[in-house]
Symmetry: C2
Subunit: 143 residues, 2 copies
Amino acid sequence: MFLQFCIVKESKQRPGDPVGSALDIVGDKWSLMIIWNMIMHGKHTYNELLKSNEGIATNILASRLAKLEAAGLLTKETHPDSKAKILYRLTHKGIDLLPALVELMLWAHAYLPIHSAGDAYTKLLKQNKEAFVKRIVEDLKNK
Amino acid sequence: MFLQFCIVKESKQRPGDPVGSALDIVGDKWSLMIIWNMIMHGKHTYNELLKSNEGIATNILASRLAKLEAAGLLTKETHPDSKAKILYRLTHKGIDLLPALVELMLWAHAYLPIHSAGDAYTKLLKQNKEAFVKRIVEDLKNK
DNA sequence: AAAAACAACTTGCAAATAACAAGTTAATAT
DNA sequence: ATATTAACTTGTTATTTGCAAGTTGTTTTT
């Protein structure tokens, strides 16, 4: 059996464990939600993120943004429209979490009671996952 | 631009947001680690999981196992070897998180300092992700 | 030009959650 | 019969989160 080959006996785990290391950065309730909303809903400012991540506290959002910036997943820039605003932009490192997020989304669609399964981009995604992800990632990186 | 088409303005978020709903279940530090260790390291009992998830507290492991069972991601069975043991087994719902976990792993390999990138199954995975995931999922489900 | 409003936070505190150490119960091994 | 293993549970303490309110700098309104 294939799995037998894969099972690593007595591995020492983190560090050295990629999934554990990834979860050290985004293994909480809000980090992935923030990144998801930045990618798929085009949110780029503090107040936009506050509204789109329903239920997040202001201090938590601030601390998550700082943590994600420190981890190199996003950057803070002055907003072109106004000096009062700050524009949060994902780095390539942040954008490249999209494949994982898309898989999470598909899992949710398969197993969780989701109402809004019928929108256009969900259909596109299910038709051709690879192409969908590639296209969005490229769009975001070419900016 | 493609993204423009995808951005949903003024969405009401959770519930109705698949990623948010998924993170309500596995959006913490330990749940995905537990599932990952069950799938890729063949851990199936409380003590095995305690050792493989380095640093998890006993009460947290117990509560996560209960939560994941309640959410239908795994089941508790009496272990064939001994009545003293309990065998935790992933359901299809749990197994199907593997694609998301694999994407997280690949992301970590791309951006995080991981030592053990050279093992055989990591190479196989990078060569053919789809086939790799499919094979493991099928192995696990045919039990 | 002054006042109100907005944007991005910070601060203080109560409540919830997690980590740590120790103890409990049932089953097996010696 | 005794010791050990397995799977927890139960305090207790430390950390994190959630909530309300306040702060600072920048625009917008009057």
